[in-house]
């Protein structure tokens, strides 16, 4: 039996994901209709993990592209390469996903150049086609193909945003940090620490999140808490782990850094 061309992109094991609300049902409904999905939410709240989990749950390969400001349309679609026989067309990740049927996840899509997102347009409406003008091919998307993009609307310093013509093609799913109990369960599972310490870390995160819009672009993410938890497992005290994994990366402003460090100090018994 021939192997699927995207076999390497399948997830072997079930990724850990704790559903927050009805996002599983929404995504499955969108997938059934092959509607493109837009995930919005703060950094480190579980967007990427959610996509991995859904790919595993749906049994589809997942091709992830981390977008950056030099990402061009040909980086997504593909390009001609030179080899001994002359030129050879190499599918880009988007073309691969559309050709062979996979979930294509464009992480932080607004970071990509504006012209890049335009190539998504014919793929994300009823046409579901990808014109490969460079190799004169009109690619009709595989029935299993689905596009998922994510971005963080609160990200400061961002110079770009999605054009209405792009964003109106997507079904939106809004993410935020899970509730305290659920977030503690996630931190306990992923960081492999006990529930008490996980809850303490979540409380610290909630304190930093109060400073959003008051000096911080974002409060501590769930990912940061998992890092802090992992550091405690390696022998650091919770206070030291929070300073290294949360306080230090959150801000360069000396006053804000002092305030965060003092808040962490206050959160743990000495």
């Amino acid at each position: 039996m021939p192997t699927h061309p995207l076999q390497a992109w399948r997830l072997d094991a079930e990724p850990y994901y704790a559903p927050q609300a009805e996002e599983l049902a929404v995504f499955e409904a969108a997938h059934a209709l092959r509607l493109p999905v837009l995930l919005k939410g703060p950094t480190g709240c579980g967007k990427t993990r959610f996509v991995e989990y859904m790919a595993w749950r749906l049994g589809k390969p997942l091709i992830t592209v981390a977008c950056h400001d030099d990402l061009s349309a040909s980086d997504l679609v593909g390009r001609w390469l030179l080899d001994a026989q002359g030129t050879r067309w190499q599918d880009g990740p988007l073309t691969q996903a559309a050709r062979h049927g996979a979930l294509c996840y464009l992480d932080e899509v607004v970071e990509a150049r504006a012209d890049t997102t335009v190539v998504l347009h014919p793929l994300t409406d009823a046409r579901r086609i990808l014109p490969l003008t460079a190799c004169n091919e009109l690619l009709h998307a595989h029935p299993d193909f689905q596009l998922v993009v994510s971005y963080n609307p609160g990200y400061q310093g961002m110079h770009k945003t999605l054009k209405p013509s792009t964003r109106q093609r997507f079904v939106g799913l809004e993410f935020s940090y899970p509730g305290a109990e659920q977030e503690a369960a996630v931190v306990a599972h992923e960081g492999q620490v006990d529930a008490v310490l996980a809850s303490q870390l979540v409380v610290v995160a909630e304190r930093t999140r109060r400073l959003k819009e008051h000096g911080l672009a974002e409060g501590a993410s769930t990912r940061m808490l998992i890092h802090a938890a992992a550091l405690t497992r390696r022998g650091l005290s919770p206070r030291a782990a929070c300073q290294q994994a949360i306080t230090c990366p959150l801000s360069d402003d000396p006053d804000l850094a002092t305030a965060l460090a003092a808040a962490v100090d206050a959160s743990f018994a000495h």
Partner: protein
């Protein structure tokens, strides 16, 4: 210090308030600290040092030692809680302990209670037990706070058996789980505290019982000389409702450290609060544009909130023009350095242009390559033009310099070069704008200059000084720049939104703010409102692909530095640069524009 200060403090004018940016440097981290801990945001202000009152040194030192923070939680005048910290306190840990304690009152305290018939001893006892109660609640939630407060509790059996010493021993016993006091009354106080309901009412009942004991023990107590101990604890006046019978307070509170814009400097003790809406002189015609404004309290944009009028700047007097020309000549060496720095550090970016095929080049023209390969297989002579044409189009920046022309720019400048020319910040700002425009033009970039000032949200004025097509050293530019006068206030958000509107569609757009401090306007009394709006305007601009940076020309007063930090918070540390002398201009300008 038991007499209530509340009524006297409540009558303080709004002008005596100050936010975190105006407190001592060691206290700057405290507003975000308490917001993180309890999501409370009191206004911070300074309690004047007693040494300033002309008393003898020893009396002043004693008064300074006895000074305690003052917390006002409920005031008829100021809706936000106020926390006054002694201005001579510089130890970060003392300030942090004091602020954490006071904010524990905010987080877990109750509304002010009537004193009823409580005697001074009972008032002191209620304060002590209530302090212990809120600290216990705080420690239950934030266990690390115990280590913050404990070092200030040193009382023990050696401290004596006076009422004040016993109170301190009670405080330590209630806070320190490892300390056990042998005094029976202290033990009884602790037992009553633990048995009482953990509410202000429970504390009041326990204090009544303990107060009777103290009376029966005939322990002397001088209410006039009593101060709350340890030193970090506030004077607890906020526990009690306003008492019309109380004697007037003698504790002076400081005036704000920097006079607000919109007032003359000699007006800093002006006690009447500013009217909410000032009568604005009617501007001619309809506004050029109306912009929204971010209201941090409701976390929403207020739509169509600021009326902006754009006009040509008036021509300055011949003397002013002459002074500006002379300044330009005087700074010739600086201008040459600035031009050199910008030309090398800020080159025109080269936009990649697919300009056809070439026989030589660095990058393949892929289609040409395919055609060549096809020709080869068809045994035809391939076209040798298989490379991208090496042409690239230069892409200059479009920089709009926004010059702050508010009244605060009439302050004396700290810059050595400006003292020769009269010495106001406005003159330094004008010269900086002129030099910047000239250097940018020389480096091949486009630069426009506009000045702005505001008089309430109904009148934000933007004056055109130099368009992109005008020459920086032209007579017209010099005349208009000389005509800019410092007046009114600084509503930066609206001016920035207008600048971004004008830059739409221009390649490599950049707004450079030339200012002397943070935004302010006379119809805004919340010192964080306009900086929050500015932060939002900056984010909007950056989302739209427009870079925003700021050169902050610092005055020779401490307030300038505080305002600079506030601006850095709004724009980001790297996008907001301080200029202390015109010599700083080249590298700071480059740092702003090359981002």
């Amino acid at each position: 210090m038991l007499p209530s200060l509340t009524s006297a403090l409540a009558n303080r004018p709004a002008s005596a308030e100050a936010n975190g940016g105006e407190t001592q440097p060691a206290a700057r981290h405290l507003p975000p600290y308490v917001r993180a801990l309890w999501n409370v945001a009191p206004h911070f202000a300074r309690l004047a040092s007693p040494a300033a009152q002309g008393e003898s040194e020893s009396i002043a030192a004693d008064a300074a030692r006895r000074q305690r923070p003052v917390l006002i939680t409920h005031s008829a005048v100021v809706p936000t809680p106020m926390l006054y910290l002694p201005v001579h306190w510089q130890q970060p840990l003392l300030l942090r302990a004091a602020v954490a304690h006071a904010c524990a009152h905010l987080a877990y305290g109750d509304v002010p209670q009537p004193r009823g018939k409580l005697k001074p001893i009972q008032l002191a006892l209620v304060g002590t037990l209530e302090d212990a109660r809120v600290e216990a609640r705080a420690i239950a939630e934030l266990p690390g706070l115990r280590a913050l407060w404990l070092p200030w509790h040193q009382a023990d059996a050696q401290s004596g058996n006076t009422f004040e010493a016993l109170l301190q021993r009670v405080q330590r016993s209630l806070l320190d789980p490892l300390y056990s006091d042998p005094h029976p009354w202290v033990r009884k106080a602790c037992a009553l505290y633990h048995a009482a309901l953990p509410t202000p009412e429970g504390m009041r009942q326990a204090a009544s019982l303990l107060g009777n004991d103290v009376g029966q023990m005939r322990m002397p107590f001088n209410a006039r000389l009593y101060v709350a101990e340890p030193v970090y604890r506030d004077d607890n006046t906020h526990l009690w409702g306003a008492d019309p019978q109380a004697p007037p307070a003698t504790t002076p509170l400081s005036a704000p450290s920097n006079p607000q814009e919109g007032q003359s400097q000699g007006d800093s003790n002006h006690s009447a609060p500013q009217p909410i809406e000032q009568q604005v002189e009617s501007a001619a015609g309809r506004p050029t544009a109306v912009y929204g404004e971010w209201d941090r309290l409701i976390s929403r944009m207020r739509p169509k909130w600021c009326q902006l009028y754009e006009e040509d700047a008036p021509n300055g007097t011949p003397q002013a023009r002459q002074a500006l020309s002379l300044a330009l000549a005087r700074h010739a060496a600086l201008l040459a350095r600035l031009k050199r720095v910008l030309q090398t550090g800020l080159p025109l970016s080269q936009a990649h242009v697919v300009a056809g095929r070439a026989a030589e080049g660095e990058r393949f023209h892929l289609n040409a390559l395919v055609h060549a390969a096809t020709d080869q297989r068809l045994r035809r002579q391939p076209d040798p033009h298989i490379y991208l044409h090496p042409l690239r189009a230069p892409q200059p920046m479009h920089v709009l310099v926004l010059l702050d022309a508010s009244v605060s720019t009439l302050r004396p400048a700290a810059l050595p070069s400006s003292t020769e020319s009269g010495g106001t910040l406005l003159e330094v700002l004008r010269e900086s704008a002129l030099l910047t425009a000239a250097a940018l033009e020389h480096a091949g970039h486009w630069c426009a200059v506009q000045a702005f000032a505001s008089n309430t949200r109904q009148l934000v004025r933007v004056q055109r000084i130099k368009g992109f097509a005008d020459q920086a050293d032209s007579a017209c530019t010099l005349a208009r720049l000389a005509g800019v006068q410092g007046e009114w206030s600084t509503r930066l958000g609206a001016a920035l939104r207008h600048a971004c509107f004008q830059l739409r569609g221009h390649p490599r757009p950049h707004v450079l703010l030339l200012t002397d401090g943070q935004p302010h306007d006379v119809d805004v009394h919340d010192s964080r409102y306009l900086p929050a709006d500015l932060q939002h305007a900056v984010q909007e601009a950056r989302r739209g692909g427009i870079a925003v940076s700021c050169l902050n020309v610092l005055g020779n007063d401490k307030a300038s530095l505080d305002e600079h930090r506030a601006m850095q918070r709004a724009l980001g540390v790297h996008a907001c640069r301080a200029v202390r002398a015109l010599g700083d201009l080249p590298h700071q300008l480059l740092a702003c524009l090359a981002r």
